[in-house]
């Protein structure tokens, strides 16, 4: 059998896993592994400028491709810098394997140079973690790490490797395991047939149904099946922030996003529904508003691969634990069977038609473009910037975002027709996510348009990655909605703190982003005039091999609407503009 050092084993195992990119940053405890990377010259390594960016880049790669992202960092600060990115991936159930160097085994616990308890510090934000104790175990641990990260409800897995176990002179037999089975980890593969039967009956007898689909539909590759099911039943669909693209946004049956900044018709339909089919969604507090007032008349069917997500927030009438694909297939078959054996037509076409006319009247009254201040403002409106992005990219781009108003505008106004195109940190809400995530996507999809919608607050949290983009020629487009404020903070301060802008204004401290982009060898464009918006956007995307930083000066006082009334509001309680509420 072939004999390899621990460092070589790690690199070989990544090759054997079919890994396309390692995102990382070297340092003392990881140097043997880095030497193995150099010598093997097999899996390309992307040197980021900060470990947080490595995790976000791997995360973006994973979200866009469905394949696990891979990160390599050193011990101590390398490991702790990766933490925010690991937590981001954990909250959104993104498959990721993070290999961290650790100080030598005999130094562990002695407060050695660059020592930190990585397994301990990452424990609450990983799906699982391993501390390697013997070099011989490396192949099986890496195999398990990938298996755990990608199956069931996906998530990040940390593998912490003490430096002495990667020493080039200590060689052991290497064979990469073909399969893995763990008695303590057996994710569900099929939903309970009795529950599926009940779900089908409930769905078919609904008069005011809503399909509420989340990120799990995208992660679980269930978009196509979900779309078919919705089409077959002619039922309305709403997607969560994480689920955008799970159902095509330009379709008539799509109600838009739901929740805190959800569409009026989506939130109203949820509140007044009698049956909710929740698929791969988790009743997040940004969706439900006040839980005790959540959808009072609705019976809830909840499909999720993670049993702990079910009945965590709201009681559920029909829980179904299983992968979204097999459950939706079974549900579809059950629906066919019940429809063919039923004496009357189900669902009740008349009731569904009434429901649609109700939804259409909500749509007509307060659809998304309601209440905007377009004509009053001399500035470019953020909504129009997103629309211009949509037009320039023909709705086909991969769009990452950071966190804040720009994120909500992008979620509302870029109509995502395909899964895995909308890439944002929905759970943890991590500023600084957008640019590195876009890098990971562009590397995976070199021919696709990749845009990072951001604000001047978020972009500065990982702006150093402009250098990484220069080194590896990663021509993403940065759409900076610049309003000189931390926009969402300002919005809350406007609404709840009498416009006292505590630490949310940049005064005149912002850099000249055009010059900054140029300093890294990229292209910068400043857009202040409404008339320049669309041409500039088109021009930026015509520069296929250039990173373009579009610095768009937008109306500094625009708010995101609709917005749930809180606290104590229900789904139906929304601000529709600065002055109107439901």
């Amino acid at each position: 059998m072939e004999q390899l050092s621990g460092g070589d084993m790690i690199v070989r195992a990544l090759e054997d896993e079919g890994v396309e990119y390692i995102f990382g940053y070297p340092g003392g405890a990881a140097l043997h592994i880095y030497d193995s990377i150099f010598k093997a010259n097999s899996v390309p390594h992307i040197l980021v400028r900060h470990e947080q960016a490595a995790t976000h880049a791997a995360d973006g790669y994973a979200r866009a491709t469905g394949k696990p992202g891979v990160v390599l960092v050193t011990s101590g600060p390398g490991a702790t810098n990766a933490i925010t990115g690991i937590a981001t991936a954990y909250m959104d159930s993104i498959p990721m394997v993070v290999i961290s160097g650790q100080v030598q085994s005999h130094l562990i616990g002695e407060d050695a140079f660059q020592e930190t308890d990585m397994v301990g510090i990452s424990r609450p934000i990983v799906k699982h973690s391993f501390m390697v104790q013997r070099t011989e175990d490396i192949p099986s641990i890496i195999k398990k790490a990938f298996y755990i990260a990608t199956t069931g409800r996906p998530g990040p897995v940390v593998v912490d490797v003490p430096k002495d176990l990667t020493h080039p002179e200590h060689k052991f037999d290497y064979a990469y395991p073909e399969s893995v089975s763990m008695r303590s980890y057996q994710p569900s593969t099929k939903g309970h047939s009795g529950q599926v039967r009940k779900a089908a009956r409930l769905l078919l007898n609904a008069k005011r149904p809503v399909i509420y689909a989340g990120g799990g539909v995208i992660q679980g590759e269930g978009s196509e099946l979900l779309t078919q099911l919705a089409k077959k039943l002619n039922y309305p669909v709403t997607n969560t922030l994480m689920g955008l693209g799970a159902y095509p946004a330009t379709d008539r049956q799509f109600l838009g996003m739901l929740g805190m900044h959800g569409f009026y018709e989506a939130n109203m339909a949820m509140h007044h529904s009698d049956v909710i089919l929740a698929v791969g969604a988790r009743f997040d507090d940004r969706v439900t508003n006040t839980v005790s007032k959540f959808c009072p008349g609705a019976k809830i069917i909840h499909i999720d691969v993670d049993p702990a997500s079910i009945a965590k927030i709201v009681p559920v009438d029909v829980p179904i634990v299983g992968p979204v694909t097999t459950v939706l297939k079974d549900l579809d078959a059950q629906i066919d069977q019940q429809q063919s054996s039923s004496e009357r037509t189900i669902p009740d076409a008349e009731a569904i038609a009434d429901w649609w006319s109700q939804i259409d009247s909500w749509r007509a009254a307060h659809g998304l473009w309601h209440g905007r201040r377009y004509d009053e403002s001399d500035f470019i409106m953020p909504q129009d910037a997103i629309t211009a992005l949509y037009e320039a990219t023909h709705g086909e781009a991969y769009v990452t975002s950071d966190v804040g108003q720009h994120q909500m505008f992008a979620a509302q106004y870029y109509k995502f027709d395909y899964p895995r195109r909308w890439i944002n940190s929905g759970g943890l809400g991590t500023m600084g996510f957008g640019l590195p995530a876009a890098m990971g996507i562009k590397l995976a999809m070199p021919n696709a348009d990749v845009a990072c919608v951001t604000g001047e607050g978020s972009i500065q949290m990982n702006i150093q990655e402009l250098s990484t983009c220069a080194q590896y020629n990663i021509p993403v487009k940065i759409v900076n909605l610049r309003n000189n404020y931390l926009g969402m903070v300002k919005q809350w301060q406007d609404m709840q703190y009498d416009s006292r802008y505590s630490e949310s204004h940049y005064a005149s401290s912002l850099p000249d982003f055009v010059k900054l982009a140029e300093a890294y060898g990229h292209v910068g464009m400043e857009i202040k005039d409404k008339a320049d918006l669309e041409p500039a956007m088109r021009e930026a995307f015509s520069m296929k091999d250039k990173l373009v930083f579009l610095d768009i000066f937008i109306d500094p006082h625009e708010h995101v609407y609709p917005m749930h009334v809180a606290p104590n509001g229900a789904m139906k309680d929304m601000w529709l503009s600065k002055t109107e509420r439901t």
């Binding site: 397994v119 301990g120 424990r123 609450p124 799906k127 699982h128 973690s129 501390m131 104790q133 755990i148 763990m182 008695r183 303590s184 980890y185 993670d306 049993p307 702990a308 009945a311 965590k312 009681p315």
Partner: protein, 163 residues
């Protein structure tokens, strides 16, 4: 309501910290915790007592099951079961108290496992309430030190917690 959860988990480093971490992370409380290897060297058995309504216990059970190192979780309080806690208590045993403590220990069917010139260590095993009553029955005797093992438990009859 008080519940006793029995957990079989991989005898791996870090497994216990994942279980304990879950409780602090999600705001669940642990009243007692007992953990030791089993006859199968690859497995540890952990018994913990906690309180909560059905919804909370369901969540705790689900989250325990989600921990990759956890093989099985059983709520012993769902059925007939035996539960035992072990108490060691060091009491001042001088003068009249020396006989009094001995008598109380006998009534509770405890054992004196250490006899010092002026102290006893009493060992007592039983359900929690028996140990509590014993401590209050010691009355005027001065309690110097108490240690309890935490509840260990098992389902009655044919039910077996194994892999």
């Amino acid at each position: 309501m008080r519940r006793i959860l029995s957990v079989l988990m991989e005898n791996e480093p870090g497994a216990l910290s994942r279980v304990v971490g879950l409780f602090s992370q999600r705001g669940y409380n642990i009243e007692s915790l007992n953990v030791a290897p089993t006859t199968d060297q690859t497995l540890s058995r952990l018994t913990l007592t906690t309180t909560g309504d059905d919804l909370k216990i369901e969540q705790i059970t689900k989250h325990l099951n989600k921990i990759v190192d956890v093989v099985k979780v059983v709520d012993l309080t769902e059925g007939a079961h035996v539960e035992r806690d072990m108490l060691l208590v060091k009491v001042r045993a001088e003068g009249a108290q020396r006989d009094e403590v001995k008598r109380t220990t006998d009534i509770f069917r405890g054992q004196i496992v250490d006899v010092g010139p002026a102290t006893y260590i009493v060992q007592l095993t039983g359900p929690i309430d028996k140990l509590d009553s014993f401590l209050s029955a010691l009355g005027e005797a001065e309690i110097l030190e108490v240690v309890r093992s935490g509840v260990a438990g098992m389902a009655r009859g044919e039910k077996v917690l194994t892999i």
